[in-house]
């Protein structure tokens, strides 16, 4: 490991800044728990979900955090797998954030199950034909591998594991995100899905979302702890983020153009793209314009690209855009009705042939932000009690941020 010279230390600050963020995180966890117990007490019918929209806002939060977890680990992998020394000091933090995001996402996913008390069954009974079962194995394996990876970075006694475990974690995270995307890609019955491209698309979403989240969180942690960030590293992240976003847009374009070309999917594509639904507005304004084009301008245009605020603004917009992208994929795909009788006008008393409506309730929002709260609390406690943050990332070559 080449980051021997880097000194790490716990966050020393104990003022309102640190405890304010920690308390905010705990408050979000509290909201999530209240929502969970309310849903357990009354049943899931108090949510906006129904027989048509079976996965709602909590699932969007859960998948958002799970995809982010995988992407955030990229920062560590760039240092370990691709041997980029500038990124190696951030490996520990990358591991902490990845574990925190995954646990936050899984918490939402599990607590929104019809029977969350049967989690033990999911852990002990596997149907290996199910991509969902494979995902359970992948999530557990990810936690174990990244835990070992972080340990290898922090404990000199097992430093020999740093490289092999780092490689294993990198490949595991690629498979994990491919598995998450395949949850949708394997859905043959739905017009919106049934495509192999969901696996690479989700991997690329994780690259962009994970990096954007890492930029934001690491900036807050470093400045909050009054530590020095490397300008050179921020510049590298800027171009990397732009590259990832370009790749997401490319795969998204391929996905939609291919689907438009296939007659069986074209009606759904018109529904999502043509402005016939509210999802079109979310897609074009939220994901494409605000979540992709504006950040790309902030990252690449010469007027803004040198400013740190532009990078932070772009990262925040990418995070928002990725959330909206997942919302459109998950909710928009279910809102389009099943085609049971092609070329016929279908009627029934239970919403056949009509675009399904979904309005998330406050309980779903509370459960979702509860997962974000868990992530936040884990990060804040992690950097306080263990040596995750480098004392300084300053390099002599660049004028660094104090």
């Amino acid at each position: 490991m080449s980051n021997k010279a880097i000194v790490y230390s716990e966050v020393q600050q104990s003022g309102w800044g640190y405890y304010g963020v920690l308390m905010a995180g705990m408050a979000l966890v509290g909201l999530g728990l209240i929502a969970f117990f309310y849903l357990e007490h009354t049943g899931h019918y108090v949510t906006g979900m129904n027989n048509q929209i079976v996965w709602g806002l909590p699932h969007v939060f859960a998948i958002f955090l799970i995809v982010a977890a995988s992407g955030i680990l990229n920062i560590g992998s760039i240092g370990t797998v691709f041997n980029n020394k500038a990124y190696q000091p951030l490996g520990r933090l990358s591991g902490l954030l990845a574990i925190s995001c995954l646990i936050g996402g899984l918490m939402v996913l599990v607590l929104d199950l019809g029977r969350p008390d049967r989690l033990i069954i999911a852990m002990t009974h596997y149907n290996f034909k199910s991509i969902f079962a494979w995902n359970i194995i992948l999530y557990n394996g990810f936690l174990a591998l990244v835990g070992l990876y972080v340990w290898a970075m922090m404990d000199h006694k097992i430093q020999y594991l740093y490289k092999p475990v780092g490689f294993a974690a990198f490949f595991w995270r690629l498979v994990l995100t491919a598995g998450t995307g395949s949850i949708f890609g394997f859905l043959v019955a739905r017009e919106a899905y049934d495509s192999a491209i969901f696996a690479p698309l989700f991997i690329l979403i994780s690259f962009a979302l994970g990096l954007a989240l890492f930029i934001l969180i690491s900036y807050v942690l470093f400045t909050g702890a009054q530590r020095v960030l490397s300008k050179d590293l921020l510049k590298r992240k800027r171009y990397l983020l732009a590259l990832f976003m370009g790749a997401v847009l490319f795969f998204e374009a391929i996905f939609h153009i291919t689907a438009l070309y296939a007659a069986e999917h074209s009606h759904f594509e018109q529904f999502i793209l043509s402005g016939a639904s509210g999802y079109s507005l979310w897609f074009w304004l939220g994901h494409i314009v605000l979540g992709s084009i504006v950040p790309l301008c902030l990252l690449l245009l010469p007027w803004w690209r040198e400013q740190v605020s532009s990078l932070l603004g772009a990262a925040a917009l990418v995070v928002m855009g990725s959330f909206i992208q997942l919302y459109v994929i998950i909710i928009g795909g279910q809102a389009y009705p099943l085609t049971l009788f092609p070329n016929a006008t279908v009627e029934s008393s239970f919403f056949d042939g009509v675009i399904h409506t979904y309005t998330p309730t406050v309980w779903e929002l509370m459960l979702g932000v509860g997962g974000v709260g868990v992530t936040l609390v884990m990060i804040m406690i992690g950097v306080k009690v263990l040596r995750f943050l480098p004392v300084s990332l300053a390099t002599a070559a660049s004028g660094d941020i104090e």
């Binding site: 069954i121 969902f132 739905r190 049971l340 029934s348």
Partner: protein, 231 residues
């Protein structure tokens, strides 16, 4: 044995008796209760194993409404079974009925995404998935008369549009009906090979809606006189 249903679309009048009877029987059966949400409110809903869809074919005046009762098709290659992470969804080897182990289901809803027929529903009260059991607790109940060992929907249907039997037996009533009437599977192109079959509506002649019978001499004279008077 491959047990399943045949539904005759030619005689189904869409009365929903099958759906109501199914709900009544199964709400106290092995998968019960089939919970109702807000049953006395403005927007009641609930869990149903069997729902009657309707669609129009043809253009006016050659159009016709087809009532299409749908429940679990008990597919031979059931995707809901393949996607279930815990194996709670399973297909019985002995009779081909697709069931959900209510003690293993954790209510993740993934099977309802995978089912192309919309046959699976989350019971938001029990937190588990529910679906048609082909009235398993009825068809094997030897305390009942043999004629009553049929799914509740089949016994109830006033138009005798529903039939139950073994598709593996070429001489069974369902096999004969499918053979004689061209019984078909819904969306066979997906490859799930649903067991349930539908008998297509027979081609019927258009019934004239205007009076085209030959006029009598008196009515022709009256018509001529009226025309003259109007001038």
């Amino acid at each position: 044995m491959k047990l399943g249903l045949v539904v005759d679309l030619d005689v189904c009048v869409g009365c929903h008796a099958c759906a109501v009877s199914c709900k009544q029987w199964n709400t106290s059966g092995m998968s019960g209760a089939l919970t109702d949400y807000n049953p006395y409110g403005e927007d009641p809903s609930g869990v149903w194993f069997n729902r009657v869809r309707s669609y129009e074919v043809g253009d006016y005046p050659q159009n016709k409404t087809i009532n299409f009762p749908m429940s679990c098709m008990h597919c031979e290659q059931a995707d809901c079974v393949d996607v279930c992470p815990t194996g709670a969804s399973y297909k019985r080897v002995e009779d081909g009925i697709v069931l959900i182990d209510q003690d293993k289901c954790m209510g993740c809803n993934y099977c309802s995404w995978a089912c192309p027929y919309g046959a699976r529903e989350l019971d938001r009260s029990t937190g588990t998935m529910k679906k048609c059991t082909l009235c398993l607790d009825r068809i094997y109940d030897e305390r009942l008369e043999e004629v009553d060992r049929q799914p509740s929907c089949v016994i109830t249907c006033p138009a005798h549009a529903r039939h139950f039997g073994d598709f593996d037996d070429p001489d069974s009533n369902v096999s004969q009906l499918v053979r004689e009437r061209g019984g078909y599977q819904l969306m066979p192109e997906l490859g799930y090979s649903p067991t349930n079959r539908y008998l297509p509506p027979r081609v019927t002649r258009l019934i004239p809606t205007e009076d085209v019978s030959k006029k009598s001499l008196i009515s022709s004279v009256k018509e001529w006189v009226n025309k003259m008077v109007e001038r």
